[in-house]
């Protein structure tokens, strides 16, 4: 027999009745009333399609009574189910009264309950069957994606594309990050007036004669691929720096006409060291 078939059923632990069918009351072990009902139904040791619903109702009512005797906290849904089963039992046993128009037959209710228990039982067994199968990564193995190509020019062949699972997980991850907003201060890459001043002071002495102040812009602002915002900031900062240096007397500025080019020149005898 193979190793995986010998594994313990994950569901074995729930059946706790002893030989006398006195149920060990442990509400914590159950996932709700239907879980209790299924365990009790199994304790009848018959095919689930032939369980006695009247007996199941008795078993369940005993179970809930025992739990309450032990002062266990019994959640409301257990009591609702108890009341419903007591009602169903009485309907199944008592001579049939005339039914209201919209009232279901008690036998139909009993059959539906038996069916629901059978279905849940089947799903549990199938879950167990699935996990008893050989599993990838435990019993079967894929070849690892080649870390090193086995031979020159023999690549790994990745399937590449992304799955819906990954897509949804990415979006969920994005939404999740949004739930916890955080402040991110991104450093500005725009030129400051201080930086422009430093540039101008360093560069002025090297240029004789009048020159457009745009010549003093950093080179990366002058080519065609420059980001317009960065260039505009550099122009503005450099212009303000020119005005500042003119105020200090370090440069002279000239503009021949409105909106015309602006020229600057180092002031003769003026201090370029600033004040």
């Amino acid at each position: 027999m193979t190793a995986w078939a010998e594994r313990e059923s994950p569901f074995d632990a729930e059946v706790r009745s002893d030989g006398n069918e006195a149920f060990v009351v442990d509400l914590d072990g159950f996932a709700g009333p239907i879980d209790v009902l299924l365990s009790l139904a199994r304790s009848q040791k018959v095919d689930l399609s032939r369980i006695s619903i009247v007996r199941l109702a008795d078993q369940y009512l005993d179970f809930v009574a025992a739990a309450r005797r032990r002062s266990l906290q019994v959640a409301a849904e257990y009591l609702v189910t108890a009341a419903w089963l007591a009602y169903l039992k009485s309907r199944l046993l008592l001579p049939r009264p005339v039914l209201e128009d919209d009232e279901p037959e008690p036998e139909a209710l009993a059959a539906a309950l038996a069916w629901q228990l059978q279905r849940l039982d089947a799903m549990r067994r199938m879950g167990h069957r699935l996990f008893a199968r050989p599993q990838l990564g435990r019993d079967t193995f894929l070849r690892p994606a080649a870390k090193v190509p086995a031979a020159p020019s023999v690549p790994a062949v990745p399937a590449g594309a992304c799955t819906l699972t990954q897509l949804l997980a990415a979006y969920a991850g994005h939404l999740k990050r949004q739930q916890t907003p955080r402040l991110v201060v991104t450093p500005s890459s725009l030129m400051s007036v201080d930086a422009a001043l430093a540039r101008l002071r360093a560069g002025l002495g090297a240029v004789p004669g009048w020159e457009s102040f745009l010549r003093y812009l950093p080179e990366e602002c002058l080519n065609d691929e420059a980001d317009p915002l960065t260039t505009r900031a550099a122009v503005a900062a450099t212009f303000v720096a020119c005005l500042e240096l003119a105020r200090e007397g370090a440069v002279r500025m000239r503009q021949a006409r409105p909106f015309g080019p602006i020229f600057i020149i180092a002031a003769e005898g003026g201090s370029t060291g600033g004040g």
């Binding site: 193979t2 089963l85 023999v154 799955t163």
Partner: protein
């Protein structure tokens, strides 16, 4: 074995390290190749060997034979332990798909806690399949090819006892609303 398309197919599957889709493979074979026939032939070539070519849905992969698992894996500590709730939920999705969350809750008569679908989704075993044309247009869930691959199933038809369960009417839509079984508030301690 002189068939170049077959050899190329074999080499692609062998080096992939992950399952490959039929259409993906077809695009990479010489024009006019019958990818399905070639895959079937390749699978037959490897039948009984220590390595086998296995289909899961539309994907194919070489993998080691299941009976060698114990000898190949000395260490099983990485094995995923799923809660009982998650195992049960996976079975319900596999057999009843496409199912909504409400369907699952009805079958289990327990609220499906967050984390149950989550863990199955993270494994890549389930995925949303669309929406149901009912009020609220709820999302429906189904299993993936990765699910088939993980459990060594070629297709959903191979789910254990599927035919028997269907014949017994246990996979039919539920008339359970008439039952007095309120869904328990949470799966709580049922997990593990």
């Amino acid at each position: 074995m002189a068939d170049d398309a077959l050899r190329l197919l074999e080499a692609m599957l062998f080096t992939a390290g992950e399952p490959l889709n039929e259409r993906w493979l077809a695009r990479r074979l010489p024009a006019g190749s019958d990818v399905k026939r070639l895959l079937a032939r390749l699978a037959a070539d490897y039948a009984g060997r220590g390595v086998q070519l296995v289909r899961a849905g539309e994907t194919w992969a070489f993998m080691t034979a299941p009976d060698l698992g114990a000898q190949l894996a000395a260490d099983r500590s990485h094995e995923l332990k799923l809660s009982r709730a998650a195992i049960e939920t996976l079975a319900i999705i596999a057999y009843h798909q496409p199912v909504t969350r409400a369907d699952i809750e009805q079958i289990r008569a327990v609220h499906v806690s967050k984390g149950t679908l989550d863990v199955l989704f993270e494994q890549g075993w389930i995925a949303p399949q669309g929406r149901r044309d009912t009020p609220g247009r709820p999302v429906t869930w189904g299993t993936t090819d990765l699910f088939l691959r993980h459990f060594g199933l070629t297709s959903l038809k191979e789910l254990p006892d599927a035919a028997e369960l269907r014949a017994a009417g246990l996979l039919d839509a539920a008339p359970a609303a008439i039952l007095g079984l309120p869904a328990a508030e949470c799966e709580g301690s049922a997990a593990q």
